[in-house]
């Protein structure tokens, strides 16, 4: 296995894969390797086995099968016209690397994607074959995330779903115009159409207990932020519609990152990391805090999230009339809107207040730091002035 050539490949193909932000290894059905003859388990929750100095977790072996690509997406390091070094793993090499890494507890499993070589079906076949060999030949019970190539045939996508815990298709850019401009060979209808088919299939299998498994951990997608001109309001509108339409587990926002040998068509600048962070916060407000995509930015002319303050705080400031809230009587949906109170804290507050009146030091213990929430809440011993 030790050949310098293979190590070069690993470096090139890990480097090319790192712009995909997805790292989750959660949501797979619980299983283990007892009596299987193979290795691996999934506990339902994911595990981050390491963290790189960019603060991102390393959970899966995230690599491309090849970084050769017939597409020419401007923002992508592997685009056809880029001058990067090209490499290609064999199916067997990926299988061996995954198993060797897994046995040493470096990873939770594999996240395999690829540039499009020859055509979509040929590429998808290779991805499926890696997953099949891991699952069938090696009885691998760890996590597998495969990139579904939207242009590939339905039959191949179905096979991918049989072996993978999660499939994902990248929406790439928040608007169709952005896609036309920066990823001219990709089409919104093809991407969304494939997401729709995945959703129908995932729902169908869930409804029928004896159906063969199909991507039990659902589907996710990624949107690149800051490459095209879409503002945050547009991004959040698209996100809300994607969550509602295709039951996505997650949308990853990836701040457009400068890449080696970047295209002339893109501005050379540092990635908008804070903007990406604010979008994640807004995304959470929509998914777990009952916020509607339109109200997060209501009243903001530019349609951009404030980089200085988090979106929940910004919302509270714009809606001061709704505060302060009496934490002993306020309903859950309003407590969730108090800056500094998370969903868990709110649930504990609600359980606790059934038995005793909450005072300020109670909140402090439930919550940790009180500073952010203090101006927005009322307790018998505290009223903000």
């Amino acid at each position: 296995m030790v050949s310098p050539d293979l190590k070069n490949k690993l470096e090139i193909l890990a480097d090319a894969a790192k712009y995909d932000a997805s790292c989750a290894s959660s949501g797979a059905p619980k299983r283990d390797s007892k009596g299987s003859g193979g290795i691996g388990s999934t506990t339902g929750a994911g595990i981050c086995h390491s963290y790189t100095p960019d603060g991102r977790c390393v959970s899966l072996l995230k690599i491309l099968l090849t970084n050769s690509c017939i597409f020419d997406c401007t923002y992508c390091i592997s685009r056809r016209s880029s001058n990067v070094r090209r490499a290609r793993f064999t199916v067997d090499e990926v299988v061996r690397l995954t198993l060797e890494f897994y046995k040493r507890n470096y990873i939770e499993g594999l996240f395999l994607s690829s540039g499009i070589i020859r055509d979509a079906d040929y590429t998808m076949e290779q991805l499926v074959e890696v997953a099949r060999r891991l699952r069938v030949d090696h009885q691998f019970r760890g996590y597998i995330h495969l990139k579904a190539i939207p242009e590939a045939s339905q039959d191949l996508i179905a096979q991918a779903g049989r072996h993978a815990d999660r499939l994902s298709i990248n929406i790439e850019l928040p608007t169709e115009n952005g896609l036309k401009q920066y990823a001219p060979e990709k089409k919104q209808t093809t991407i969304r159409g494939t997401m729709a088919r995945l959703k129908l299939k995932i729902d169908e299998v869930k409804a029928e207990r004896k159906a063969p498994r199909f991507s039990p951990s659902g589907q996710s997608t990624q949107m690149i932020v800051g490459a095209d001109g879409a503002n945050d309001a547009t991004i959040l509108t698209t996100s809300a519609s994607l969550y509602a339409s295709y039951g996505l587990r997650r949308i990853y926002y990836s701040a457009f990152s400068p890449i080696p040998d970047s295209s002339r068509a893109l501005p050379l600048k540092a990635p908008p990391l804070m903007r990406e962070h604010r979008l994640y916060q807004a995304d959470w407000l929509m998914r777990y805090y009952g916020f509607d995509s339109s109200e997060i930015l209501a009243g903001d002319a530019a349609g951009m999230l404030d980089l200085e303050v988090d979106p929940k705080f910004a919302w509270a400031l714009r809606n001061r009339a709704r505060f302060p809230l009496d934490v002993n009587v306020a309903p859950r949906e309003m407590l969730l809107r108090v800056p500094g109170l998370g969903a868990r804290t709110v649930d504990r507050m609600i359980e606790t207040r059934r038995h005793k009146t909450l005072r300020l030091d109670d909140i402090a213990r439930l919550k940790g730091a009180l500073k952010r929430a203090r101006p927005f809440i009322v307790t018998p011993d505290h009223r903000p002035v």
Partner: protein, 485 residues
Amino acid sequence: MYRVTMRNETSLPEFRDHVRVLIGARIKPAAVTFSTTESADLFGEAPPADRKVPAFTVPGAYVELAQTVLCHRDPARFALLYELLWRLLHDDRKLMSIHSDPLLHKLRQMEKSVRRDLHKMTAFLRFRKVEDETGERYIAWFEPQHLILGAAAAFFIKRFANMRWSILTPDGTLNWDTNELGYGPAVPKAQAPQDDAMEDWWKSYYASTFNPARVNPEMMRGEMPKRYWKNLPEASLIPGMIAAARTRTGAMLDTAPTAPRQNKAGDIVMREFFASDAPQENLVAGTLAALRVEAGSCRRCPLYSQATQTVFGEGPERAPVVFVGEQPGDQEDLGGKPFIGPAGQMFDRALEEAGVDRAMVYVTNAVKHFKFEPRGKRRIHQKPNASEVEHCHWWLERELALIQPKLVVALGATAMKALIGKDVRITEMRGRLLTIRDGLTIVPTVHPSYLLRLPDAAAKAAEYAHFVEDLTAVARYLPEIAKAA
């Protein structure tokens, strides 16, 4: 003063036996000290063990908490757990729900610390492979913060059931032979293997998956505290990676873009991709199939931007009757076919009852993209507005011109609006034959989704029967669409 000595300090059964005796003897928390065999307290007497202990139950939440907290290294944990138990039994049975109670809060914090340590052990433990005459063996050295060796065993057994492995820690060792778990005494770190050939590969991967343009060491340290670094092979790379990050990013930004690579083969593929791409506004399709393709890239109104696809009409090219609905719904948008959702199923059932052969009719919608409001994981149907109906009318007109049906059935007000350009009340016009321009004959009835929305079961049944009657009248008007008996 009473004294209790825990021989196996993380054992829940042993702790339970002790506290049952204490509770039975009504010994208050302040009157007992706990110790482990290592730190045995010489003072104090053993609680009276022979007393008959009355039965009592404790909440499941307490047992769960105790099981985890017993793995904490803090020697005060036994006394804290006993105090909580005493208060649960004597003061407040609901105490486990009062999350702001200072004692419960403290124990929860301890529980959290143990859980985090357990999680980090499953994450940061690294095996090294050794080979001897008996075959492969994977050995790890790990230094847990708490006494979690026993609690962590199940995870590693499940994951690596068919590997032989050992986990060495300063508190003891675990050995798994693919069959049975053995516990052993603590060993020094020097006994663990010092290297593994795969680590170079792992380090290459780790370095390559790092994006220097996003460097954020504080975030990394928050999730992977420095105290774990000494046993992580990849951690030795961290300082160098951080140091070089700025230079690497600067170099990327400073380097002028190079000339795009030429690739003839790729360019050929490109043309194929573009072939059917541009919206072909001026093309007037001569067949339904061609019209459907054209409609697929319709951008006449903004509805396309959040919908999956154009849902075009479906049915025979020369159908005698065309049913026009409002717009595709959730299922239609996903599946790309009209009338397949709940309303479509009701429509099919009504057609069947009216004796109409579904294969003989053409079904379509006034608006061909789904208009909705996202609400969490669901989409709430929204009525298309006048402008959307107006824009989409372009397609409906062409469908009708190509099919030339003898009759058009308008299902609901939006369909009528699209067909005659006016707002009408369906209840007033229902069932009447209207002849409009070009001799096009229209008959209005309700939309099946209206039937689905009626809350009252009796009204629903009556309205459904009325709908079937309308369809039966259509079948009488056009005998050729009747189902063969």
